[in-house]
Amino acid sequence: MARYILKRMLRSLITLVIVVSAVFLLLRLMPVEGYFNNYDKLTSTQIKVGLMNQGLDKPVMVQLANFWKQILKGDLGVSNRYRINYPISKVIASKMPVSLKFGGLAFMISMALGLPLGILMSKSARGKSRLKLGDKLGTLFVVMIQGVPVAIYTLFILMFGTSLLNMFMRIPTLFNADNWRSWILPVTALSMGNLALYAMWLRRFMVDESSKDYVQLARAKGVPPAEISRRHIFRNAMIPLVQYFPTSVVAVLMGSLYVESLFSVPGMGGLLVDVIKRQDNTMVQALVLVYSALSILGVLVGDILMALLDPRVSFGNKGGTR
């Protein structure tokens, strides 16, 4: 087990190294305007000096080596357009907590609502009523969320949610991190995707599990149905659900890019969209790296969780992920 985890971590590390280098090299293909604040007004000598100061006149491989030295010291370079000559790590440090709180809240909401929804759907699907209304309504919701792009239903939440909420309370027009009402709509939008994902798979796994032999046995022994559901079916159905953990981490990360920007949540996601529009190369580079690192970490944690939770995953020499 320890060997598997170690191997899996090593692979993530290698991936990270490759990704960092690839992102750096790819961004060197960009025109150099993105490294200056006022490129159009500069003379060619000033541009040369500017490039030299940023070490961008050296051969690409030397630049890459320098970039690595810089990164290992925790330095992501300075911003050129967003905030002139300001260290990017400081910008990110100020934005990260907002994004973490935002993503974390969305994650908790998806779990807190998605899992019960899945349980209710599977109960309705296994129930005696011929109509199975609960299951059908739930499935309709899941299909709507998965079939309609995030970018679109988020717009609808923004459009109709605002007027709907305004009937009960005053929500601030501009996002205000200190006012909890500001968080309702963006967190709802961000949690929808995973909520539907959890509900769909939990329903499927619980329905599958309930026809297994050990459930029949428990039923034959006279274990009350509620206890069978809780102690046998639910617990076993949760195990395969863990494999969707990495997917949902990545979904929250990528969803936050759009949702943060649309609701003007002052986090990293909105920042990335902002610096892309301003063509601030060093900022784009740094933020793409942070997001890649976070997703690599998310997938790693998911794989390890899966290995820890499911005793049926084998740890042969081929590795558990195959």
Binding site: T15, V23, M30, P149, V150, I152, M254, S261, K277, S295
Partner: protein, 308 residues
């Protein structure tokens, strides 16, 4: 010894017992056509596609991109939907009805191109990956790296570096997508390659072509069809996303992304919301249909469901 005589090999004799009258496609179609919801959306999407592509040739259609003026020469900005402009006009006086269909054409074109590229490269690479053992390591390691990076980030990076355009979006979307298809194919090939019935077929001298067509292909078709059906809505929604972050198509190319994006500016003005609602409705109809058809077809084409 004359109790045993060597029988001559006659293919038609050998096949006599093998033919059960089962046809993969017939069975797939029968199961699919029984799925009412799937069929509904299938008819819907066929109608929608046909309409999208013949719309410019229908009578009484306005031209997309053209700016309309009234008789006095004043630009017809933000005209609410009426008899003349069925979906109204946008803030620069273009006819939204024809813009929406032109945009749907562009977006679907991107979706189809991505789906086809992913399928072609994915199948080829997947079969090689599964069959040629020496390639397994390289492909697997490549997959393990790419699998860790969200496609959205690749899309952002590629669109940031390249010039915005239809080609850029197609490249950015298919550059990593094929690997996922290849991986699915590879897994199927590895699972099926040495199954007993394939071993038996080989021992009986069935030609490789026939093994691939009759024994392997049915399993691969369902995987590929599912991936292709899902690639289209994914491409459409990704196009909306890159347009939103300012890396999408130029405004001179109408696309659903462009239309939705200009509609976002009107989101707080209740009277102009139709400019957002029409494109999003058409877009959602397209993506939901493909999503449902993809799922229904995956069920129908899975040979495991072909039991009578």
């Amino acid at each position: 010894m004359d109790m045993f005589a060597r029988a001559p090999y006659r293919p038609e004799e050998a096949e006599k017992t093998a033919d059960t009258g089962y046809s993969y496609w017939r069975c797939t179609l029968r199961i699919f056509s029984k799925n009412k919801v799937g069929m509904f959306f299938f008819v819907l999407i066929v109608t929608l596609l046909t309409f999208t592509f013949i719309q410019p040739y229908l009578p009484a259609q306005k031209q997309a991109l053209l700016i309309y003026n009234d008789d006095g020469g004043k630009v017809l900005r933000n005209v609410s939907p009426n008899d003349e402009f069925w979906f109204g006009t946008n803030s620069i006086g273009q006819d939204l009805w024809s813009m929406v269909w032109a945009g749907t054409r562009t977006s679907l074109l991107i979706g189809f191109a991505v789906a086809v590229i992913e399928a072609l490269i994915g199948i080829t690479a997947g079969v090689l990956w599964g069959y040629v053992r020496r390639l397994d390591f390289a492909f697997t390691e490549l997959y393990n790296i790419v699998d860790n990076i969200p496609q959205t980030l690749v899309l952002i990076l590629i669109s940031y570096i390249m010039r915005p355009g239809v080609k850029t979006i197609i490249i950015a979307l298919s550059i990593t997508g094929w690997l996922l298809t290849a991986r699915f194919i590879r897994n199927q090939v590895v699972i099926l390659r040495d199954r007993d019935y394939n071993l038996a077929s080989r021992c009986l001298g069935t030609p490789t072509r026939r093994i691939i067509m009759r024994n392997l292909m049915p399993y691969l078709v369902s995987v590929v069809a599912m991936r292709m059906a899902m690639a289209i809505p994914l491409a459409v929604s990704n196009e909306v996303f890159v347009t939103y972050i300012g890396l999408g198509l130029p405004l001179s190319t109408p696309s659903l992304g462009n239309l939705v994006n200009s509609g976002i500016d009107k989101i707080m003005e209740a009277g102009l919301r139709y400019q957002l609602i029409f494109p999003t409705m058409v877009l959602s109809l397209v993506t939901i249909s493909f999503y449902i058809i993809g799922n229904a077809f995956a069920d129908a084409s899975d040979p495991k469901n072909h039991t009578e």
